[in-house]
Symmetry: C2
Subunit: 115 residues, 2 copies
């Protein structure tokens, strides 16, 4: 196996930490259930496994950023999540943080390319 690929994929995983949370929160302005969120994120370029998303949603709810309720009127019961007021606030701050991080990285990576 290509040595660089191994290290890169490991670091890719580290890059996703935090990013996945931000991505999920950013889609919760409208209520969503897990399975459809996975599909919507995939459409927009972010692949995430069920085994990753469901625990994450539960954790975010536990942290007070999301609120959930069951919809059992359909043939299949679905757990809908939406942003809580705290979640909305955290999302705003994280988005700003993300923008700042991107700006810094552009500066660092840009200087690397120009040197």
């Amino acid at each position: 196996m290509n040595e660089a690929s191994e290290v890169v994929s490991q670091l890719q995983q580290e890059l996703r930490r935090g990013v996945v949370v931000l991505a999920v929160l950013s889609q919760m302005d409208t209520a969503s259930y897990g399975y459809s969120l996975i599909q919507r994120l995939a459409e927009r370029g972010l692949e995430i496994e069920e085994g990753t998303l469901y625990p994450l949603m539960r954790r975010l709810e536990k942290q007070g950023l999301l609120a959930s309720e069951w919809d059992t009127t359909e043939t299949r019961p679905r757990k809908y999540y939406r942003l809580s007021p705290l979640g909305r606030e955290v999302l705003a701050q994280l988005s700003a943080e993300w923008s700042g991080t991107v700006a810094v990285m552009n500066r660092l990576l840009g200087s690397e390319n120009h040197e």
Copy 2:
């Protein structure tokens, strides 16, 4: 303490995982020693503690991405690091990965703002 701030600072830390590695690698085209690298990164907007950077440099060397040599000709001995060929390759791939991640997040966050 502001509840949102707590969660945000925790997630900020998660965002830094991977990012710090990329930032450091991006500055190693020219040989650097730890203390000066901390200062250069700070000038460019990335704050990093010595207790974070020195173990990181050692880990990156262990992973074969950096190579080091001591300069003991000055009054103070300094450990200079530079990118290895593998490190150069990993940096290129991680940079591409980062660009892709930023593009995806722009799409996700942009759609959130427009909705």
